[in-house]
Symmetry: D2
Subunit: 141 residues, 4 copies
Amino acid sequence: MTSQSTEAPAEAFTCALAVRWSDQDLNGHVNNARVLTLIEEARVQADIAWSGSGKAGVGGRVVRSLTVEFDRAVHYGSGVRATVWVGRIGRTSYTICHTLEQQGQRCVYAECVMVNLDAKSGRPSELDLETREALTRQQAS
Amino acid sequence: MTSQSTEAPAEAFTCALAVRWSDQDLNGHVNNARVLTLIEEARVQADIAWSGSGKAGVGGRVVRSLTVEFDRAVHYGSGVRATVWVGRIGRTSYTICHTLEQQGQRCVYAECVMVNLDAKSGRPSELDLETREALTRQQAS
Amino acid sequence: MTSQSTEAPAEAFTCALAVRWSDQDLNGHVNNARVLTLIEEARVQADIAWSGSGKAGVGGRVVRSLTVEFDRAVHYGSGVRATVWVGRIGRTSYTICHTLEQQGQRCVYAECVMVNLDAKSGRPSELDLETREALTRQQAS
Amino acid sequence: MTSQSTEAPAEAFTCALAVRWSDQDLNGHVNNARVLTLIEEARVQADIAWSGSGKAGVGGRVVRSLTVEFDRAVHYGSGVRATVWVGRIGRTSYTICHTLEQQGQRCVYAECVMVNLDAKSGRPSELDLETREALTRQQAS
């Protein structure tokens, strides 16, 4: 998928997520678009934890691309463990890596490229030093 | 992203999709996971059209991976035009390519690898001849 | 259900809504919470039409209560016709009435009591004259 | 709202529900249709607990009507405590009562009338004795 490792660093952020009955689609497992909502929830919780402020980091960042591998279906009836870490850090963008596990088995690996936008122009703009340092602390070594 | 063309063939399936107010997230544009729901809706409608039966093709196919590029935010207030076609056709899997356009501009390009599963074993199984032929008719030339 | 008529006035706002495959739940019909999303979409579209501004009316209004009767399941595969009108108009609140029809049959009747909130205190506040007049024009006679 | 008590019996089923960032709408609180999804999740979990089988009760029951009072907005950032009990038990239908609390304050009270359908005719059919007894055990006294 990419040149970066798909293995979480030992100290990566993790959280428990609850699957809802409504997350299932007609096929009887969690719908793939809904998996992305779980991934998003994990990323928001990681962002809040990393920011140290109890709030999600300031805006200005949007999802530029997503790559998701579905190794196993996620099912209703037991919880999900999400793991989140930082992959590549670029000049104006960075990659957040996520896994979802259920009953000890990896179900999903997802990479999300976030791009930093200038509030005025709406164009990609350089990550500031503070953000870069905060991301580097969460990066897979 | 991939070796295949991201341009739709001239005769690709297209359909109009309505954006809902509820598709927006706190950032004021259509949420990226909800974009995947729009992509799914386009794929289901293409599948129904391609099957010629008025119903979605028989099951046994699951999403194995997703790759999505968000070029522009999708907004509430005007419709979306979706285009769907078949990319690569493999032995047990195939790639569905999708674009979403709004007001004449491409907002999203998404590739979805579908894998054919054996109903009993749940393992990847070879596409049957009928499916392969149906997919080939929708393939970018 | 209430003392007001559940019949739409002749000149009520109507719009077409598209059902998505993903609106279905495991029971094979549109999920009842998702029906509320369709009702909301109809209400937002009515609000935009009534405001005459191309935008939803100014904020400050929240849903205070909902009453929904499900007469028939809504299914994927054909469109829905929504009808929206104003029921009771009170001092600080008013009732929006909605129906959803599919294939000529009423599936859902929903009443939604909206309350006007004061921006500062967050408490119910009197409807201003302009809003009251705009609502009265849409009221069932 | 109804003649039945809106107070949960002491021994009512309760469960913790997690709010997701994506449950919020543009207004910055949990969307009212999404509140219904939380209510549904609580009801499914109660049904699983009451059935004693680890699975939701057998099908054939559909939501006939919903009445929801939104006393306070539900917010992202802290969990929700749901309480579920049985209200009225009729010949072919029964009422499930729910509350959602956040930070010790009641935010939502919802009643849901479920009707038992005959699998063949799809028409309301009498609750069987086993179901009636199971419901009676969960009823507010």
